[in-house]
Symmetry: C2
Subunit: 467 residues, 2 copies
């Protein structure tokens, strides 16, 4: 393995000799060296980029690297928000060319896809056949289903439908020292053995490279009606979220924007943001037409007691496109942002939202958030330009404080983005739970070459770099 300044050319050449020139790129091809944390100025370096066309090629590449102690960084669509796919040397193993839909049986609600299939394409393919693949993480046009599995990605509709893992019945993966394994498959249930499939889901490429997956689909709901409510303040808005749940209403999605996020995103909102709005709730009612209408009416009923305005006529497609663009709208406001993905018990949402603003203020930063209210999942964000060195430093201090606030609220430092490179140093586990994770890692990857420095408890806590 080389260095950031001078990658080792023998790695690129060796892999090219093994797999063919076309499957290997120099480690300097920038688009494979960062993920969405580039907005914080984070990028890695690699000795080579490998683009296998099959699980067997991926296994061969892994075996080659494993024999030579070369680190391997699995990579999907590169939309991660925790640096999970950012390499620190070694080989980037990309799922870009694993694009086949291996089988699709719409009449059985099943599809088998390779890991590089884009999540939005998968959703479209299902939809064209009257089916739904429910997970809808942001950046679905870029993200790969393999990456979504590796992070157990969520999204607004996870409130009703669960995260990506709920829809995976089987995984094909490449594990060290270079084996292709299958765990699960088309079967809807299977308890013959430990649930390795569920262990791989959300493991962020530290145990295996996912190369294909068997997915469950469901019949697409006949109707889906958005309901957007604007509230005069945070507390009223969060109370309304609590009332939806407390009244037993089950929306498909229950998202929110706080005052700061709403201000920055309001201009492009495909409807009317009322004057004085300081909190927005984005809900959706789905099901048969009668069912969706009934849930919509329930939502309106809950909201209209305290909302400034309740909108039901906003265009659904436009609404979710706008919602998906909130991250970008916020990032461009000040030329950059530092976003964290916090999870708290839903009844502590208001505390976490307020805490984000207050922590920011203490560090001279604008703090704001949006996210999946019903799941208690905040995208807590500090606005700071990429090139603002002192601002970035302040953001680093602020995020450590934010994690402490989250913990005090009984929360987790990651609900759906993962720990990746950026958060592992902040994770806290009990001694036995940390030890179990390390030993499971060692079972899969005895040399510690798969996505090193990511996700898992460091052997020596506190020693690593805090990015």
């Amino acid at each position: 393995v080389g260095t950031a300044e001078s990658p080792d050319p023998r790695i690129e050449h060796g892999l090219a000799a093994l797999l063919g020139r076309d499957q290997v790129l120099p480690g300097t091809v920038a688009e494979f060296l960062h993920d969405a944390t580039e907005e914080r100025g984070i990028a890695g370096w690699a000795d080579a980029i490998v683009l296998p066309r099959s699980a067997d090629e991926a296994a061969a590449a892994l075996a080659w690297c494993y024999e030579r102690d070369v680190p391997v960084v699995p990579r999907g669509g590169g939309t991660g928000l925790a640096g999970g796919a950012v390499p620190c040397g070694g080989v980037v193993l990309s799922t870009d060319r694993l694009q086949a839909v291996r089988s699709f049986a719409p009449e059985l609600w099943r599809i088998e896809v390779e890991a590089g299939v884009r999540t939005a394409d998968l959703r479209r393919r299902a939809r064209e056949n009257g089916l739904l693949f429910p997970p809808d993480p942001g950046a679905a046009e870029q993200s790969h289903i393999g990456g979504n599995i590796a992070t157990n990605a969520g999204g607004p509709h996870a409130f009703k439908y669960g995260t990506t893992g709920a829809w995976v019945t089987g995984i094909e993966a490449v594990v060290p020292p270079g084996d292709v394994v299958q765990v699960g498959g088309v079967l809807r249930k299977d308890v013959a053995g430990l649930d390795l499939k569920r262990l791989l889901i959300g493991s962020e490429g530290t145990l295996a490279l996912v190369t294909a997956a068997w997915l469950r689909l469901i019949p697409a709901p006949e109707s889906a009606f958005p309901v957007v409510a604007f509230f005069p303040d945070l507390e009223t808005g969060c109370d309304a979220v609590g009332s939806v749940i407390g009244n037993g209403v089950v929306p498909a999605a229950l998202d929110y924007l706080d005052e700061g996020a709403l201000r920055l995103a309001a201009r492009s909102y495909p409807g009317q943001v009322p004057v004085g709005a300081a909190f927005a709730v984005l809900a959706e009612a789905d099901g048969s037409e009668a069912e969706a209408a009934s849930v919509r009416d329930d939502l309106v009923h809950v909201f209209e007691g305290s909302a400034l305005a309740v909108e039901t006529d906003v265009d659904r497609g436009a609404l979710w496109r706008w919602r998906d663009g909130v991250s970008l709208a916020v990032a461009t406001a000040r030329g950059g942002k530092v976003s964290e993905d916090l999870e708290v018990p839903v009844e502590r949402l208001a505390d976490a939202v307020r805490g984000t603003v207050e922590v920011g203020r203490r560090h001279g930063l604008t703090g704001l958030s949006w996210g999946h209210a019903g799941d208690g999942n905040l995208h807590a964000t500090f606005l700071v330009a990429r090139d603002d060195t002192s601002g970035q430093q302040a953001a680093r201090r602020a995020r450590a404080e934010l994690f402490a606030v989250t913990r005090a609220l009984g929360g987790s430092i990651s609900g759906e983005h993962g720990l990746g490179l950026l958060k592992r140093e902040y994770a806290e586990w009990s001694r036995p739970v940390a030890a179990l994770q390390r030993q499971i890692k060692a079972a899969f990857d005895p040399k510690g070459l798969l996505n090193p420095g990511k996700k898992l408890p460091p052997d020596d806590p506190g020693s690593g770099p805090r990015l």
Copy 2:
């Protein structure tokens, strides 16, 4: 550790000294030595039975045993169908006295219960508060939620709602050498770390003793309407199941009884079984009243093209009580049965049902089945009296053949009951998948004392007893 004939009294006395006389029973108390496989004549033996009142007491008991190389067999309600809780010496660690509901927040759709809470009690408690805990495995009046988690238990309504694991957000467990750990908790999403919670779910007490769980609930559907259809033959019935799915209808449950099961259970059916019925489909439509009615009408529409009769006026409670009693009705017909829990792709259901009858016939046995049609999950059964030695031998040969048939259909030898003691010898894993399971087991339980001989790949395949 003693022997079956003479348990080691030092174990009972040592644990009684540690935990108090009232928490320890002699290893000869028969009710703790078998599970539902008693109908096959299977029972174990133990040196002592421990009934901890808290996770800390359970941890102390485990630590005491672990230090002295005494095997520990976790035990829930003892309703298992694979011998997972049958001890072969050592200590039975029972969840009988872990009965507290630690917290219940109906307005947040959450409950935290100790492992010994009976599943039916949990479901009743939820229902009294307008909520639903969807998993409904058989024997829910006896089974413990901890055992349901340890086996990832299913049930008829798993078709729409998923198995037990889908409803568990956190687990408290005791792991070797005697630590209480918490993985997950009240949070709806959490990706900070490997998903140890999901690894414990379905691990059948081989990695940990589950002592408590945080569960998700959902608002109870307003209405649930049963639809029972009787068909003239297997093929027509299975085609109807396929048509439900192919037409995009989503029932809450989609169960079946084949001809043999229907014949034995017909007498107690709470409605009319038409003459000539050779296959029954038990479906349920749920949701708001309008939604449930609409799904019910869709089901009727699909069924009535080919059914001998379609019933929608059968009492729902009576129907599912009857369904829950099918196992007993079948078992009493010939004084015993050998049941297997097979899982196949749903489109191979007819092949698996037919295969069960044919395999039985080849061995001079009556083969029949019932189960969760929509999930492709069969309870494939041979009728044989407990004391019929040659019949039991024939059943042993037949089940090996049945597993081969299941594999040829792309199936699994267990969909929801687990491997336990009875099936681990028949499980087949690829070399790396078997190795990973062994290493994970070693990470949790380096001495191999937790539920030895169950679930996991034997170190020396083929060497163990085939019960």
